[in-house]
């Protein structure tokens, strides 16, 4: 019962935040401030294990996602099912490079790899050092940290005091592509992460496992 209630509250809070974050990015104005201030939300994935649920086009997949920062400062993400069968093993370098160490044949499609890469890069805040980054604000005072990508933009949206990262978004010039919500940071790591795609039925839910 308590678990259901927690789940309900979590979903409600995520939904409420998503509604708050679903503004189309119009009417934003330039504001002065340090574009690097949002860096404080950059997750510190020394090593973390997340229970992972993936819903893709009506298919459900579950397992464990291991995220580990390597000695060369790259970040590895490895997803396997509960029985140990590996789905993928990705490497994200500090300089923005990306390498697929392993992916199962069934998932090895260019579009799938590209989507996962961009989703995780958004969470890892891989490109915020980009000099072209801008800071804007909405009429409600929300702050939009905008980082241009090769195609489209990564948005990090905080409250006016930069106390909370409300959500992260990837968007093209005309529409939103994906919304990510990270909650309950502890020791620099979010306890829960929700990834929701807007252009097709694809979502990922991550819940940190205490080891």
């Amino acid at each position: 019962m308590q678990r259901s209630l927690i789940l309900f509250l979590l979903l409600t809070s995520c939904l409420a935040t998503m509604l708050a974050c679903t503004t189309v990015f119009k009417g934003l104005t330039d504001v002065p401030g340090d574009v690097a201030a949002v860096q404080k939300f950059k997750p510190e994935f020394t090593v973390a294990l997340y229970k992972t649920e993936v819903n893709v086009m009506g298919n459900y997949l579950s397992g464990l996602l291991l995220i580990k920062k390597m000695p060369d400062s790259s970040t590895r993400m490895l997803f396997s099912n509960e029985m140990g069968f590996k789905f993928f093993d990705f490497e994200f370098s500090g300089n923005g490079d990306f390498k697929v160490h392993y992916i199962i044949k069934q998932m090895n499609r260019k579009a799938v790899v590209k989507t996962l890469r961009k989703d995780f890069e958004l969470i890892l805040m891989q490109h915020p050092e980009n000099g072209a980054a801008k800071l804007k604000a909405s009429s409600e005072g929300l702050r939009y940290y905008i980082y241009p990508q090769s195609k489209g933009f990564n948005y990090y949206i905080t409250d006016s005091t930069i106390s909370n990262l409300l959500c992260m978004k990837r968007a093209s010039k005309s529409k939103e592509i994906v919304t990510v919500i990270a909650r309950d940071y502890k020791d620099g790591l979010p306890d829960t992460i929700g990834i929701e795609h807007h252009n097709f039925n694809f979502s990922i839910a991550l819940k940190k496992i205490i080891r």
């Binding site: 294990l49 459900y60 579950s62 464990l64 291991l66 490895l78 509960e82 029985m83």
Partner: protein, 211 residues
């Protein structure tokens, strides 16, 4: 002199082959082992056991430990109940696999998924003792004082992508499987060790019901 050198070379080669698994030597009479193993398997109507699953990620220098309970009942009923790192239930009943993950339930027909069918067959065959007759694998046998090591090398291309080899350790005392080690091409492996085994206990069929 030449003969001596050839003899020395062959001897060294033999030693290096035998040293493939530390402490194990090659057993050439596979047929004899198969016969005894098969007889023991026939006497086994059920197995109840605890299990510890260890996923070793060599490149990441990480281990993911899972624990739970295992039930097997002849002919091909398997129940694996994970308690850690989170609750997860898997039941294999003939050609169906039932998965319960938190509130989510899922039934997969292995008939429609050849890879799942093969992996399913490996799990059941390993504990049931039929794995030696599985035509998907080339079998090599090794032994030490207390155990046999059955090395299974996959033949079909789709299984080779997943496994370099599967090593099954069989206790010489009762010919029961004590561990299954699934080795991947990448150098990672998943080792499942069975402990606190109880053979031929009564297990109700309701344990394996798939709704």
């Amino acid at each position: 002199m030449r003969r001596i050198l050839i003899f020395l070379f062959v001897s060294l080669l033999a030693v290096s082959v035998n040293a493939q698994y530390a402490g194990y030597t090659v057993v050439n009479d596979l047929a004899k082992f198969k016969a005894v193993f098969s007889q023991a398997a026939q006497r086994t109507t059920s197995i109840t056991s605890d299990f510890i699953q260890e996923k070793n990620l060599s490149m990441l220098s990480e281990k993911i430990i899972s624990k739970g309970k295992f039930w097997f009942k002849k002919e091909s009923l398997v129940r694996m109940e994970y308690d850690a790192p989170f609750k997860y239930l898997m039941i294999i009943n003939k050609d169906k696999v039932f998965i319960k993950d938190g509130q989510k339930q899922n039934t997969i027909s292995t008939k429609s998924n050849k890879l799942f069918q093969q992996i399913n067959k490996i799990t059941v065959d390993c504990v049931q003792g039929n794995v030696l007759n599985n035509p998907d694998f080339k079998v090599k046998l090794f032994e030490n004082k207390g155990n046999y090591l059955v090395e299974l090398s996959p033949i079909p291309k789709n299984l080779k992508e997943f496994f370099k080899s599967i090593n099954v350790i069989v206790d010489k005392k009762d010919y029961a499987v004590t561990s299954i080690d699934m080795n991947e091409q990448s150098g990672d492996n998943t080792l499942i060790r069975f402990t606190n085994k109880e053979m031929n206990a009564t297990i109700p069929d309701t344990f394996f019901i798939i709704n």
